[in-house]
């Protein structure tokens, strides 16, 4: 299961532009309502449930990934930044 794919789908942006550093500030279309939609999509995809404190504590995708790992989730996609950010 790919975290970037899920979040990119909710935000209607190319998943390749996302990294673990992506957040509401540096990512288009990520507002408070979209944040909830992201949480619900991730919950549905990985069969987990986030509490409210968990939802608001996630500052970026990396935080979300760590929280999911703590809930026993494993990932197919790498946590590395996209290619254009590695140059």
């Amino acid at each position: 299961m790919q975290l970037f794919q899920i979040i990119g789908g909710v935000l209607k942006i190319d998943p390749a532009t996302l990294s673990d550093q992506s957040n509401a500030l540096n990512t288009p279309n990520w507002n408070s309502l979209r944040h909830i939609e992201i949480m619900l999509a991730v919950e549905n995809a990985f069969g987990v449930r986030f509490s409210m404190p968990e939802m608001v504590s996630m500052q970026n995708i990396g935080d979300m990934r760590q929280l999911l790992i703590g809930k026993g989730v494993t990932f197919d996609d790498a946590a590395a930044p996209p290619a254009q950010m590695q140059a």
Binding site: A24, P28, S32, P53
Partner: protein, 220 residues
């Protein structure tokens, strides 16, 4: 069409609070050094939302008679309103606004605006109780929708957060439906009652073709 939203939003805020509202977005807002540092890595649309919101806030504070030039920013990422004042900022597609008041006259103040498009069923289910969903489904012809309910809870969160000093969930607030007069009442959880001294809180709402807007304003 945004002028209808602007006029409707202005009618929701009552003196002694003031509201500054615009549909014109710009990246050239009056930002403090700390805010400039914060917003530097943001995408253009986010910078524009942020700067326009701060411009509205400064204009509202000046209407109150202050000489503030910019807002500071707390470690908790919240705007720091000048001593003796309080306020609230909102922005969404096509609309940006800030409300401000003297803290000696207004105890709680929160505003929110959202595009007037339906809330997804799964989101509504997550942010509302069965009774709230039943209230929306019953309908009263006033345009109070799931999106209005979301906006109302956002306004309540913004109004109460300074007193509560912690994030709280949508389930801590339950909207009570009373009759399509542009007013809503919300009951507060025991935790919120303890922190605010209020059992219930009232707000006002309005909808246009483009937006749904809510205001929570509690006098001293």
């Amino acid at each position: 069409m945004s002028h209808r939203s602007i006029e409707a939003f202005k009618r929701l805020v009552r003196a002694p609070a003031v509201l500054v509202c615009t549909s014109e977005f710009s990246e050239d807002g009056p930002l403090s050094v700390r805010e400039l540092e914060y917003i530097a890595p943001a995408v253009v649309s986010r910078r524009s939302d942020f700067a326009t919101g701060r411009a509205c806030a400064v204009a509202a504070l000046r209407q109150l008679g202050t000489e503030v030039r910019s807002l500071e920013r707390s470690e908790g990422r919240q705007p720091v309103w000048p001593h003796g004042t309080l306020g609230s900022i909102t922005h969404c597609e096509g609309l940006c606004a800030a409300a401000a008041a003297w803290a000696g006259e207004v105890r709680f103040l929160g505003i929110d605006a959202e595009p007037n498009v339906p809330l997804k069923d799964k989101v509504l289910e997550r942010i509302s109780s069965r009774a709230e969903r039943d209230g929306i489904a019953a309908g009263d012809g006033s345009g109070f929708s799931g999106k209005t309910l979301f906006s109302a809870k956002e306004s309540i969160f913004k109004a109460l957060y300074p007193a509560v000093d912690a994030y709280f969930g949508f389930e801590e607030v339950e909207i009570l439906f009373s009759g399509g007069d542009g007013l809503f009442t919300a009951s507060l959880s025991a935790m919120l009652q303890d922190r605010t001294g209020l059992k219930e809180i009232e707000g006002r709402y309005a909808t246009t073709l483009e937006h749904t807007m809510t205001v929570v304003q509690v006098a001293r």
